[in-house]
Amino acid sequence: MPKWITQVGCPYCGSSCDDLEVLVSDDGKKVLETRNACVIGNEIFHHASNPNRPTRPRMRQEDGTVKEITYDEAIDYTAKALLKAKKPLIYGFGSTNCEGMSAVGRVAEKAGAVLDNCASICHGPSFLAIFDNGYPSCTLGEVKNRADVVLFWGCNPMHAHPRHTSRYSIFPRGFFTTKGNMQRTIICVDPRETDTAKLADIHLMIDQGHDYELFDAFRTVLRGHDIPDVVAGIKKEQILEAAGKMKNGRFVMIFYGMGCCHTDGRNHNVDIAISTTRDLNSHTKASIMAMRGHYNIAGPGQVWSWQFGFPYCVDLSRGTHAHMNPGETSSIDLAMRDEVDCFVNVGTDAGAHFPIEAVRHLKKHPFITVDPNICMASEISDLHIPVRIVGVEEPGVVYRMDNVPIQFKKVVDGPDGVLSDEELFDRVYERMCELTETEPIWILNRGHAHGSSTAEQ
């Protein structure tokens, strides 16, 4: 009998919905049907059963074709490439569990690598802003239960986070928001009339790239000062109206996205958004949240912060201490400046999502992709190592966009013999230790478990 598995986590966007139901075939190997998933999430679960998926590492040959090799050979190649490089870059982790991110920390330390994640090309500027200004935020349940004024600034959840508005931000009925969307004022700031903007009570169609000025106008107004008649293409009256709604809200929530992080000023657009949130707390309760893109892209930020003190762009090449300075230790800058000489792309597709010039620079050196699927990066790599799909074939802890950890289960068995990210990196680490004739360092003394114990009184 096929079996329905409930409360399944969805390994797509930063909403990290954990209420999916998945129908699994008798043999536990195939996903037959999903419930509650958005169209994209649905695609992921079905894609796992794609018969064309690679199940063995593939090494590029001199003639450009690829040849299947064993995991042992792939691990050996990776370990050697990392040891040989003067400064390897290990990047990605858009679709990896925290166990894998933790395991790669050990590898990167051993390799003297730079460890970076997709935030580098996405919400990295949010980190820069948090460094400078903090982060007054909350969990998504607070938004559902309390928020009566919700701003979407430079983000478009109707497309990028399909169930966000129904689960958390616009439509759900919560404890103090029993009337759902009827009780919420929605404000959208976007240069386009997006599908999210269409849901808004107020849409401020801002001149693209002038977010900083508009935030400054809100702050100036909130402190009781006058502003020019038009700021960033928005009329003063509209700014005053929106500012009034925020000031009079009981719980104001600001969600922002790439409209802030991908344009001029980057981090400072977020920085001033945080200042605005702080100002609003003198009038009412206000919170801000980055619309993180992937279901666990908050994960590396957490794992590497507790391991190295930095959420991304962690340069471990000194061996003695970690160094971080985006602009220098960030993947795109490292690539464009030819500052790294080996590239490992993990659980993401740098081939498709980096500006093509950066890909060209990275391709001058060994280029390895670790990812369940065929992607642009895998198709230009010297070596592609397939791994199990987290959230489908591999369980693990993931961090939702609000940094809430959620334990994602697996729903089907992975293809025979395919490793998880964690297993792969642990084996790469062990191989590096063998090659350098050093002892592996594990935190927990493996094979020496005390087991559960009951206090005797």
Binding site: Q7, D18, C98, R106, I130, F131, D132, N133, G134, P136, S137, C138, T139, L140, G141, E142, K144, N145, R146, R167, Y168, G174, R278, N281, S287, G301, Q302, S305, W306, Q307, F308, G309, F310, G319, T320, H321, A322, M324, V397, N403, V404, P405, I406, Q407, F408, E439, I441, W442, I443, L444, H448, A449, H450, G451, S452, S453, T454, A455, E456, Q457
Partner: protein
């Protein structure tokens, strides 16, 4: 692991009333034993002090707000991270060290157990992930309860049995150790931008007061017979004049009896009392009320405290007291992080510079030490810095130095810009007390182990105890004139054996040892109402499924579970 013998040290073991006797300590596997065979590995401790491993009852070392502190403070790492000790992991940060550095530094100081002082239940998988990435030390974590919607509802209706059933469920779900209260009611109010500054301020919407929450959770705790008492961070932290609220909170414990099988006598552990012993009514006339607070504690038997000493460093404040951090941010204008956690709690993080040349900081420094000096029962008064709030834990040796040496205190006092003003507002200058090694061992080992209900494994070198043995390079009979030597000796132990593994030698890490996670599994009789309430709240108000909420066993891979069967 095998047999080890630590020979000829000056043993200081207050739990057995041993004070500097020259003795051997024998270890077999992970336990202390009467004797070992001739093949045992010998460690020469001649001329050095031998104690059991330290027990830290309150530090913020793992979990979401600690990590927010790490994440938002790259400058806490810049030029402030020591060089890694090969072949061990890279160490990062000063006031909020990485998990690796946390484990290593505690081990270097000879600490065996550290309690993470505030775990937001929704974030408990995160806390456990960090714990299992923290080498060497044993750890537990205290989930926060005092602003939790379930608790507020049950206690409002005086349903102690339901409160207990929920508490037991949450401890198991989060793999938590005990009941933590942070700003009872005040943090719940903060969800609307408000606060509860006195014990009788009503909590918005919930129709309950902080006093009722404290009393209710105290009753819940004793109903369950948990190893640790309630562990409370009182209302109105860090505010001039708050000592009266502190005393009011203490009085709620009068007449309450400890009910447990763990030889714990206290029913309330009041944490970081330094932040709660403030007089005056503004920062202008701010003064110490350490004596008033400690006089009350000295007259009681069922309250324990830890100090929360200010160490005069640049550090990072972090607490589930959300409104306090917001308030602090309005004072110092540095960066501010906050997280409100649905149905449960909140937390804030703000960097803070305790500058010895600022009068208020000098007074805060004095208050923490005064509390430690006025205490008549070192078994109920524990050394902490509320790490990292009043200073990083690597300053414990410095606090020990200040408590043991009036000379050291006077030197620090003299180096301040406003020495006279600090002297006027405190009693530190007139206190001649110097704590002994025996008392220090009580305040860092025997005492906290007993308060945590762990005196059957920690806090003593008696045979049968966990084999945690530390050797400090101090001559018991000839203590150094230079107080700096005391600090140095406690910062980097000569040897530390943790659960039978030699983990530190000459101040350096030599093994990752074998760490464990402690949690409490209290079994109560099935309570259908509470189970129904839990299901309903998860369906309607939480944004995480109930089925994904309880911490997986594999996240605490080396558990030490304390099972309790609660008789109805």
């Amino acid at each position: 692991m095998a047999e080890i013998i630590i020979k000829n040290g000056f043993v200081v073991d207050p739990a057995r009333k041993i004070n500097g006797d020259v003795m051997d300590i024998a270890i077999k596997d992970d336990k202390i034993v009467e004797k070992v065979g001739s093949g045992a590995k010998e460690i020469d401790a001649r001329g050095k002090v031998v104690m059991t491993g330290g027990v830290d009852i309150h530090a913020h070392v793992a979990g979401p707000k600690v990590n927010v502190g790490r994440l938002m403070r790259p400058e806490d790492k810049l030029f402030k991270s020591p060089n890694a000790q090969a072949p061990y992991r890279i160490e990062s940060g000063f006031s909020i060290p990485s998990t690796f550095k946390t484990g290593y530094d505690y081990a270097r100081m000879g600490y065996a157990f550290v309690m993470e002082a505030a775990m937001p239940p929704l974030h408990s998988p995160h806390v456990h992930e960090e714990i299992h990435d923290t080498p060497i030390i044993d750890q537990g974590a205290l989930p926060v309860f005092a602003n939790n919607w379930f608790v507020l509802e049950y206690l409002k209706n005086r349903e102690i049995e339901n409160s207990a059933a929920y508490t037991a469920w949450l401890l198991a779900a989060t793999k938590g150790y005990g009941v933590k209260l942070v700003n009872p009611g005040g943090t719940a109010a903060w969800a609307w931008g408000l606060n509860c500054l006195t014990l009788n301020d009503p909590v918005p919407f919930f129709d309950i007061t902080p006093a009722e929450i404290i009393s209710g959770l105290m009753q819940t705790n004793e109903y369950l017979g948990l190893p640790h008492s309630i562990h409370i961070h009182q209302n109105s932290l860090g505010t001039p004049g708050n000592y009266e609220i502190t005393l009011d909170s203490f009085r709620l414990a009068e007449g309450v009896k400890a009910n447990n099988k763990f030889s714990r006598d206290s029913v309330m552990h009041s944490t970081h009392v330094q932040f709660h012993s403030y007089g005056g009514d503004s920062w202008r006339n701010f003064e110490s009320k350490a004596k008033e607070v400690m006089d009350y504690i000295n007259g009681q038997k069922n309250i324990t405290v830890d100090l929360g000493c200010v160490t005069l460093d640049e550090t990072t404040t972090m607490t589930a007291d959300g409104p306090f951090e917001h308030h602090l941010n309005q004072l110092n204008h540095l960066k501010w992080a906050n997280t409100d956690v649905e149905l449960e709690t909140a937390a804030g993080v703000v960097p803070y510079v305790y500058d010895k040349d600022i009068k208020v900081c000098g007074i805060q420094w004095a208050i923490g030490l005064e509390l430690g000096l006025y205490a008549k029962d070192p078994m109920r008064t524990f050394i902490t810095t509320d790490h990292p709030n009043a200073g990083p834990f690597i300053r414990y040796p410095r606090i020990i130095k200040w408590l043991m040496s009036k000379k050291a205190r006077e030197e620090t006092l003299e180096s301040m810009k406003y020495t006279d003003k600090v002297i006027d507002a405190t009693n530190i200058h007139s206190l001649d007390t110097e704590r002994t090694l025996y008392e220090i061992a009580q305040m860092t080992r025997a005492g906290p182990a007993k308060a945590l209900g762990l005196s059957h494994i920690f806090g003593s070198l008696a045979p049968g105890m966990e084999a945690n043995v530390v050797v400090y390079d101090l001559n018991f009979n000839d203590m150094p004139d230079d107080p700096e030597q005391i600090e140095r000796a406690f910062l980097r132990s000569s040897n530390f054996i943790k659960s039978g593994d030699i983990v530190v030698k000459d101040g350096d890490i030599v093994s990752h040892g074998n760490k464990r996670t402690f949690w409490v599994n209290a079994r109560v009789k099935e309570n259908p109402q509470v189970i129904r309430d839990i299901h309903e709240k998860f369906l309607k108000e939480y944004t995480v499924g109930l089925g994904n909420y309880s911490v997986w066993d594999c996240l605490a891979p080396n558990p030490y579970v304390i099972d309790i069967d609660v008789e109805a």
